[in-house]
Amino acid sequence: MMLEKGLEERTFYLNLGPQHPSTHGVLRIVLEMDGEFIVTADPVIGYGHRAHEKMAELRTYQQYLPNMGRVDYLHALAYNQCYCMAVEKLAGITVPERAEFIRVITSELNRISSHLLWFGAYLLDLGAFTPFLYCFDDREQILDLLDRLTGSRLTYCFYRFGGVPVDIDDDFIAGCRAFSQRLRSRWDDYDNLVTKNVIFIHRTRDVGILPPEMALQYGVTGPTLRGSGIPYDIRKSEPFSVYPLFDFEIPIGERGDVMDRYLVRLQEMEQSLRIIEQALDKLPNGPIMAEKVPKRLKPPEGEVYTAVETARGEFGIYLVSKGDVKPYRVKLRVPCFSNLSVLPELIKDTMVADAVAILGSIDLVIPEIDR
């Protein structure tokens, strides 16, 4: 009977998330599927909305600092830095050089820890369990270092307006050097275990190609963009802090596929190590805190936009002051927001397995998107 009528062909909807092993947070993607193939994809966000932007209007400048470690908890220090830079610019505070060096060292360490976590979690998405624990083993060293210095392991709130509260000591410096040596010795392992694996190459080569023009239209930034061959990195393109003093490269990809994004992130870790080592070598002596930073900060009326390069791309703060003790408006320009908005284009007409591979390659931190 069925055959006489002919089987009706139709698509069906599949909810990828909000509870799903590979969305790494509460992201939901409504997939319209034709068998294994994806016809359309519609990301649904907002499950982790904590109203960070509204909170900014209700708190003083200092009180808002701890929020910055909780927007993107994986590269919290970059967010700390961006917010401090914005307020410092607005209030005209100059940060001593040693403090800037400490900021760069800790932020780069944090970037490596973020990339390591991404590396492990991404391999988990592709079905390889083991690299995850190798990365966590390495990442643990960073967490221990930063834990000793900042007092927390994840949601750091370390920078202050005008500098940093705690100076680094010889133990920390020795620890950084030991870590960079250790991580360097791991590259071969990672290459042999993952990068040269035939299955891995098949899963990532020419999958999820992001053309540069599309990246431009969607405002994609970070390693996701650099995988497509555009060397846009705020650390070079719009130098902030003391980054111009260091010699490092911006790794870029050629084809813009998942593999290129993966390679870019791996090479970025090496570049971060270079930055850290140079910063340790050149570390100047001096104060770590600007003098006379008022307890009750009241920046003059005005607006400012500052941007930093986080592990995921450009994080910008648009800060408007009306001369009050509280910000008038804080807009957090988060990289993953724009990076995720390009996802429907990338996963159209791919299979579920590819969709997971592409989703992972964008390196999303969902609470950051929801703010």
Partner: protein, 321 residues
């Protein structure tokens, strides 16, 4: 009369033996899997319950038995409940013809190999039943993938088996083993062994071919909606299937019970567990293949190779004899 009594006693004893072997084997393999994966991943694994966590699986099993059996609404009840049973029963039957040693085997059937292959194919039916009856899209996708995968990998598996059967001239497992007293088949048929291990891993849905239950894509695939002991039965079946595939590979390629010094049954089990260790090693090292790559791999690489191997075997045999 006496014949039937003796045979009945033999079968009864055999079944009891098989069921206890299945249980003990699964307990051991789960512990082994956790330990192997842990040591590959730079961690100790379970350490608390018993010596180096040896009793951990028993604790887990007790927990699973104690769990509420949730039957979701809107499932196809009959098929949903039957699926774990259909998954598990054929697995038991296969043990009837596996020769652990020249004397330790329940039935020495002259179509033993056929019986194993025929019954192990039934697991795909169980997976399809579980996936279909669960009324869950992830389960359904897992079931569809599983059927496509099993159909694709069954063919090269049987083709490589055929080249061994051609050499032995018999479907009887004990005959195949006794012919390898001097030279194991792995040295005569290395390609066939390779193909057989690949297809065997795929047949048991183990990584890197675990797409029917690909965790990061399909949550848990066909058994997403199963909980408690029903889930445990799928788990049990997976490990028992690993044992059977490895046992068949041992019979076909590694000379079965043959080996110096140690008793035959020890040699047999040693080889089986070595192969299982190999499969675990795969799982904890490789990423997962994509669905279409998996199918392409079977149809475009494995099947032609297996066919070629069969033809060459037949040709050489014709020349030699």
């Amino acid at each position: 009369m006496q014949f039937f009594l003796a045979e009945g006693a033999r079968l009864g004893l055999g079944l009891i033996g098989v069921i206890s072997l299945v249980a003990v084997n699964a307990l051991f393999l789960i512990w082994m899997e956790r330990k192997v994966s842990a040591h590959i991943q730079l961690r100790p694994g379970p350490m608390e319950v018993g010596f180096h966590g040896a009793l951990q699986t028993i604790a887990d099993a007790l927990k699973l038995i104690g769990k509420e059996l949730i039957t979701p609404e809107d499932v196809d009840k009959l098929i949903y409940l039957l699926a774990p049973i259909v998954m598990f029963l054929p697995v038991l039957v296969s043990f009837l013809v596996i020769p652990f040693s020249p004397t330790l085997l329940i039935r020495d059937l002259n179509v033993g190999v056929l019986l194993i292959f025929a019954f192990s194919t039934l697991t795909v039916l169980a997976i399809l039943m579980a996936g279909w009856a669960s009324n869950n899209k992830y389960s359904l996708l897992g079931a569809i993938r599983s059927v496509a995968q099993n159909v694709a990998y069954e063919i090269p598996l049987l083709l490589t088996a055929m080249s061994i059967i051609l050499m032995a001239g018999s479907f009887q497992p004990s005959v195949i083993v006794s012919q390898q007293a001097k030279v194991w088949n792995i040295f005569v048929q290395p390609l066939a062994f390779l193909l057989f291990i690949i297809c065997g891993t795929a047949e048991t849905n183990r990584a890197p071919f675990d797409i029917p239950e690909a965790e990061s894509e399909l949550v848990a695939g066909f058994h997403t909606e199963y909980s408690g002991m029903r889930f445990a039965i799928f788990f049990l079946a997976e490990y028992t299937n690993m044992f059977i595939v490895s046992a068949v590979a041992t019979i076909f390629f590694l000379g079965g019970w043959h080996g110096p010094f140690l008793p035959p049954v020890v040699w047999f089990l040693l080889k089986v567990y070595a192969l299982i260790f190999l499969m675990m090693w795969f799982r904890w090292t490789f990423p997962r293949l994509r669905f279409d790559q998996l199918i392409t791999f079977a149809w475009k690489i494995l099947i032609p190779l297996a066919l070629l191997n069969l033809i060459v075997t037949a040709f050489v045999l014709k020349l030699v004899r």
